[in-house]
């Protein structure tokens, strides 16, 4: 036997980079709750630091923190940016709001609808027309927009229960195109190139495209995004969302336990469509006009790029994707058509390298690190070998480490005792008397841990008992499993068969 190479021990240990609170157990912790809900504002996890046993309170869900930091930075930075970038920031907020609502439709409701911009556009046209031609004041445009969204959503929802997935997606692209063509045919709008201009707005006429107007527009767009996020949260994480979550996991099971997921899906779709209509009205008010561009396939594909880059189904994905695409498309306007190629390149890069968009990158990174760690450990530790310092950090009972080292050394000694003569000795007298060597080997086998320990099954009538080998589970209520299909005529043969299996396990380790 060759002497194994001594393993290299690497130092382990890390400073704590995460910010944690160290509350005092004596002082009362008043858990504030979101008004009207059982939810707490933040999800905390209390526990003890395993290294020091110091008390720790940490955020179990850090997403609220990242939202505040990200959106807060934007709000703080925008007043210092040039006008063009303020405009870009406002556009980002609007598209992010649209995408967040869209994510509800695709993610929470699971309906692959591409008619988002069709709903936004129809609502924008309807609200603008109401304002310009019917004299509806601009605040009521939101009501009109939301109403149109609800109606259009209801119409779009009809086929969604009958056709699935891709076909529905194609159908909804068609709907957008139909809207564009239909509006372009309206004669009354032909003089102004099918657009409606001079829509009433909360931005005073003389501030339009001026800095105060831009800032006001941005502020309102942030408000819109926050409202969209709140809606997302309310729908996705409360009752409707939870119902749909179970439906996504197993439709038949949730139906069997009485969850009407189709109805829940329809509700989410209608709520989202109304929200998109609301955003459409805002869109017209923000730009003080509305044009056919809103229905363009280019625009739809850009939005599609946003959600694909960010990742479907999650609000943060929608916002990150929107940020990237809007920055490339609007802020790097000097690059010209190259921008579209750049967006396509980012999209391809993201789809090739991530499983579920950028929002999922952290989990993917962890899985990757876990895989690398496992691979490295596999090369560093021979099977059944000693515990490495990095493994020791994960074993709470340090005696288990001592046991493993002892066990490895004992096994190495016992392996040298296994000879054909020893096996023959056992075959001749499985229950003894035994030589010291055999007694040592047997005692090692008998002291093994319970899971997968061998046992013998006796079967058949008293005068024709046969024996076979089983392995115990070691868990209450979990029966032993059959090891192989061999049967033995005598108990001694079965004892010896178990012995041979154990010798085999020992030599293989």
């Amino acid at each position: 036997m060759t002497e194994p190479i001594a393993p290299v021990f690497h130092k382990v240990g890390n400073r704590r980079h995460e910010v944690v609170l160290s509350p005092d157990g004596a002082s009362e912790w008043r858990r504030a709750r979101v008004p009207g809900l059982r939810r707490h504002w933040l999800k905390w996890r209390g526990g003890y630091n395993p290294k020091t046993l110091e008390r720790e309170r940490r955020l179990a869900d850090k997403r609220p923190l990242w939202w505040v930091l990200g959106l807060g930075a934007l709000v703080v930075a925008v007043p210092f940016l040039p006008n063009s970038l303020v405009q870009v920031a406002a556009i980002f907020c609007i598209f992010a709001a649209i995408n967040v609502v869209w994510t509800l439709i695709i993610g929470a409701a699971g309906i692959l609808s591409l008619a988002t911009m069709a709903v936004v556009g129809l609502a924008a046209y309807g609200a603008a027309a109401a304002n310009v031609y019917l004299g509806v004041p601009w605040p009521l445009m939101f009501v009109v927009g939301a109403g149109i969204g609800l109606v259009v959503g209801g119409l779009l929802a009809l086929p969604s229960t009958r056709i699935d997935g891709l076909y529905y997606a194609l159908l909804t692209i068609g709907v957008a195109e139909i809207c564009r063509v239909s509006i372009s045919q309206i004669r009354a709008l032909a003089p102004q190139n099918s657009s409606i201009n001079n829509v009433g707005s909360f931005i005073p006429q003389d501030w339009y495209l001026q800095r105060p107007g831009l800032l006001l527009g941005f502020a309102s767009a942030v408000g819109l995004l926050l409202a969209a996020l709140l809606l997302f949260r309310l729908v996705n994480s409360e009752r409707l969302g939870l119902l749909l979550q179970s439906a996504r996991e197993d439709e038949e099971f949730s139906e069997a336990i009485g969850i009407d997921y189709k109805r829940a899906r329809l509700h989410v779709f209608l709520i989202s469509s109304a929200a998109l209509g609301f955003i459409g009205a805002y869109y017209a008010i923000f730009y003080r006009s509305i044009s056919l561009n809103v229905f363009s396939l280019d625009q739809l594909l850009l939005m599609f790029a946003m959600v694909v880059i960010g990742g479907l189904g999650r609000a943060e994905g929608a916002v990150i994707g929107t940020a990237i695409v809007v920055v490339i498309d609007r802020a790097l306007i000097d690059l010209g058509p190259l921008r579209i190629i750049l967006i396509a390149a980012v999209m391809i890069a993201v789809t090739l390298t991530t499983h579920r968009g950028l929002a999922d990158v952290r989990a993917q990174f962890r899985a990757w690190r876990h895989r690398i760690r496992s691979e490295r450990r596999a090369t560093r530790t021979r099977k059944g070998g000693e515990v490495m310092p990095e493994e020791a950090t994960e074993i709470a009972d340090k005696q288990a480490i001592a046991y493993r080292r002892f066990d490895k050394r004992l096994r190495d000694r016992l392996k040298s005792l296994i000879t054909p003569a020893l096996i023959e000795e056992h075959r001749n007298a499985p229950l003894g008397p035994h030589s010291d060597d055999l007694a040592r080997v047997l005692n090692y086998f008998r002291r093994g841990e319970m899971p997968d320990k061998y046992a013998i099954l006796q079967d058949g009538p008293p005068h024709a008992w046969t024996y076979s080998v089983m392995a115990l589970s070691g868990e209450p209520g979990k029966p032993p499993r059959v090891v192989d299909d061999k049967t033995y005529a005598t108990r001694d043969e079965a004892y010896h068969a178990v012995f041979l299996l154990r010798v085999n396990d020992l030599l293989e380790s």
Binding site: P23, D24, G25, A26, S27, E28, W29, R30, R31, A32, R33, G36, L37, R38, H40, W44, G46, G47, Y48, T52, L53, E54, R55, R57, L431, G432, P433, H434, A439, L442, N443, F445, R446, R447, G448, E449, M450, K453, Y454, A455, I456, L457, Q458, D459, P462, H463, Y467, M470, L472, S473, G474, P476, G477, K478, P479, P480, R491, A494, Y495, V498
Partner: protein, 770 residues
């Protein structure tokens, strides 16, 4: 196709003709079972012996029984009848207790409350699946809760309280660590901050649970179509004093109660003092409410009482010395002392039925069960009584050693031999534990009861850990041999000896033990001693007898208690301060450790055990003394006695006892036979080991041997002791015609004759020339 199953149990175990009995049967996949009364004569199916032998008693029981599935409520908990009419859930309230969770985490546990799991209604204090203290309320539709910030540390005392203010809807949860120098798993050096106070305004107002939902300690009521009401989310751990108030207490008041353990009577609905009602002679199942309404809690499946409490100072080691520090009541989610099945057959033992070991045989297509019981003589007539070790049967009832104890194979030196029935038993996991098993939280199981199907106290059963019969099925070898010899005998049980003492034995000229009379109560020790003192004759033919101090609570013969303690070959070790029996107040552990080594009564006591091979006895020089030489009539001087048997092919082995003057063997005892040559799988017992050093096994230690001894007592009394479990299991070999049987027959023939014993005249001084 549904699998057929049939199981039964009966009560009482020991009856006389004319006594009433109940049989409780559960059938799965069947609604009828054929019933037959059988007398059990031999149990082991080993081809070397007579095989399984039973004798049907026609017409003694109805031929067909209607059976149905009966459910078993596992887990110990306590019910508080009457609290449902005084539930506090309508208004403000406070609940507080001292708790010692032993297995927080993994699944939800309920400690105190009136909570309906099925209807999500009521309120309770418990532990979340993540191991945090939790107070939750429900209104039938929605549930809301307050959860403590830090997880509960296992085996640590806490004072916990939850208060709900109905006016503001605010709930406050308080958790204070009570770590002393003695009372818990960890000491004060561990820098945990155990405390947590959390408050929140609840969105759900608690609604009192339905009237059928009881207030429970250590569980919550659930409901299921098949079973009806049952108890779920069982708690593992101790609860010390607890209280319930109909007002929301201020945090400062709660802290004050947690500091001194004195509960405020103002507004109290119940003030449970777990230490009330203790007597010098034991503790019952009632947890006393000292509050205004007397809402006592009644333990089900024997919560373990008299355990160390939150304030245990370590100086007193028994609840009798300082009840105030012994308020702990230990609950286990897998405790079972009574299946509580409905009787399937109420039966009167027919007059004239001869004394014997009987069973109600239940058969269905594909399933069979024997429900054994013991019939004594209505009026003793036979000269011989066979004392069946019913205490030992309880101790080993439904043991899981082969499946759950990692060291079992090292002890037995065997790979377990399972049967299909064993595999089923492991899967079923429904009929509770033996005193050789651990509860799911790691504590040893101290109670065992016959109010449940006991699948290993059945004819034909062979211990899976050892591959040969154990206890009742092994003891039947003696019965078969007595039948074969045509000897007139009657049956007694440990329970009879416990209840009646020497009076149970006195009608008989000779009393013979079975293979393993290991568990003995004080009354049994006294009775045996008194019987011998007054001239009775005892044949102690077994191994490891009179070993564990065990007891029955007066009036409750079904449940035996033992605490495995400090020394001896023991499956577990009672926690410090928890070595006294709740049933009687006695110190448990080994009789030897209480000054009553078995040597003092029968001459020999436990010295070693092993399950690889048995060996044979050889005559010792004393056997040639005329006082005893008659026992060996027909046996050669050099004969190997018992070189055969159903217990590992020898009459000496499995568990073996030895003569030792130092342990109280009567000074005039003769050493008749000895067996040695055991392997190192027979180690010297741990109670002999003061300093451990190599070589305490059978190949090197002279104390590892099986002895057979004889001494006489006053009034023509005598005791023959053969210290080996395998002895009786050798008797049936060769149709009962063998030298072990010859020896026993010689002794029985002499012992059943009244008056002076043979050889008694040879008491002079040997004036020897040789």
């Amino acid at each position: 196709m549904a699998k057929h199953r049939i199981f039964g149990y009966c009560a009482p175990w020991s009856v006389k003709p004319g006594d009433a009995m109940r049989f409780m049967v559960s059938g799965e996949g069947v609604d009828m079972a054929r019933a037959t009364l059988v007398r059990l004569i031999h149990g082991d199916e080993d081809p070397k012996g007579p095989g399984f032998v039973e004798e049907e008693v026609p017409g003694a029981v109805p031929e067909l029984l209607h059976v149905r599935r009966q459910f078993t409520q596992k887990g110990s908990f306590a019910e508080v009848p009457g609290l449902e009419t005084r539930d506090v859930a309508g208004g403000s309230f406070t609940v507080a207790a001292f708790i010692y969770p032993t297995a927080p985490g993994k699944r939800r546990q309920t400690m105190l409350g009136r909570w309906d799991i099925y209807g999500s209604q009521g309120w309770a204090l418990g532990i979340t699946p993540e191991g945090h203290l939790d107070f939750w309320v429900g209104n039938g539709a929605e549930v809301d809760q307050v959860t403590a910030e830090v997880p509960l540390i296992a085996r640590t005392w806490y004072f916990v309280a939850a208060s709900f203010d109905a006016a503001t809807g605010t709930a406050r949860l308080l958790q204070l660590g009570k770590v002393g120098r003695y009372n818990g798993h960890l000491g004060p050096v561990v820098p945990y901050d155990y405390d947590s106070v959390v408050s929140a305004s609840l969105r759900v107002a608690p609604k009192p649970a339905l009237a059928e939902v009881p207030f429970l300690w250590a569980g919550a009521s659930d409901w299921n179509d098949m079973r009806g009401r049952f108890v779920g989310t069982l708690y593992n751990g101790k609860i010390d004093r607890a209280g319930l108030w109909n007002r929301a207490m201020a945090e400062t008041d709660l802290r004050a109660m947690g500091a001194d353990g004195v509960f405020d009577p103002a507004g109290a609905v119940a003030l449970w003092d777990t230490t009330a009602g203790y007597t010098d002679r034991g503790i019952g199942d009632t947890i006393v409410d000292t509050g205004p309404h007397g809402l006592h809690a009644h333990g089900v499946n024997r919560p373990v009482r008299g355990m160390t409490g939150w304030n245990w100072q370590g100086r007193d080691d028994c609840y009798r010395l300082n009840p105030g520090q012994y308020g702990g009541v230990h609950f286990h989610d897998d405790a079972l002392t009574d299946c509580r099945w409905e009787p399937t057959l109420e039966w009167t033992v027919p007059a004239g039925l001869r004394s014997g070991v009987y069973a109600l045989r239940l058969t269905t297509d594909g399933a069979e069960d024997h429900v054994p019981f013991f019939v004594r003589a209505a009026r003793p007539k036979a000269p011989i009584a066979v004392l069946m070790s019913t205490f030992t049967y309880l101790a080993y009832a439904n043991e899981h050693l082969a499946y759950e104890a990692p060291i079992a194979q090292a002890i037995t030196a065997h790979t377990p031999i399972l049967t299909r029935r064993d595999v089923d038993f492991v899967k079923l996991n429904e009929f509770g534990l033996s005193t050789y098993d651990h509860h799911s939280d790691g504590a040893g199981c101290c109670y065992s009861s016959y109010l449940r199907p006991i699948l290993n106290i059945r004819p034909k059963y062979r211990s899976s850990a050892m591959g040969f019969p154990w206890a009742l099925p092994a003891d039947l070898s003696l019965i078969w041999w007595l039948e074969r010899q045509g000897l007139d005998y009657e049956i007694l049980t440990d329970h009879d000896l416990h209840a009646e003492g020497a009076a149970a034995l006195e009608p008989y000229r000779v009393v013979i033990n079975c293979t393993h009379p290991e568990y003995y109560s004080e009354a049994m020790m006294d009775g045996t001693e008194d019987y011998l003192t007054r001239g009775g004759r005892v044949i102690y033919a077994g191994g490891n007898g009179y070993y564990w101090v065990s007891a029955l609570r007066p009036g409750a013969p079904e449940v035996m208690e033992v605490r495995k303690l400090d020394t001896g070959r023991r499956a577990w070790q009672a926690a410090p301060g928890e070595g006294y029996l709740a049933s009687t107040g006695e110190k448990s552990g080994l009789w030897r450790a209480r000054g009553r080594a078995p040597q003092k009564i029968v001459g020999i006591g436990f010295t070693s055990e092993g399950m690889d091979r048995s060996t044979y006895f050889e005559r010792m020089p004393d056997s040639f003394h005329k006082r005893v030489a008659w026992m060996f009539d027909g046996i050669g001087d050099h004969e190997r006695i018992g070189d055969f048997g159903l217990g590992l092919n020898g009459a000496a082995g499995i568990e073996i006892d030895r003569y030792d003057l130092a342990l109280g063997t009567p000074p005039h005892t003769l050493l008749l036979m000895t067996a040695d040559g055991f392997s190192d799988n027979y180690p010297l017992v741990s109670e002999e080991i003061t300093y451990a050093f190599p070589g305490r096994g059978g190949t090197q230690d002279p104390q590892v041997r099986a002895d057979a001894t004889y001494f006489t007592t006053a009034n023509h009394g005598a005791c023959l002791a053969i210290g080996s479990i395998a002895w009786s299991m050798a008797l049936p070999v060769n149709g009962g015609d063998n030298n072990a049987g010859r020896f026993l027959r010689n002794v029985l023939d002499a012992f059943t004759r009244s008056g002076p014993l043979p050889g008694s005249e040879w008491k002079g001084e040997e004036k020897l020339w040789r």
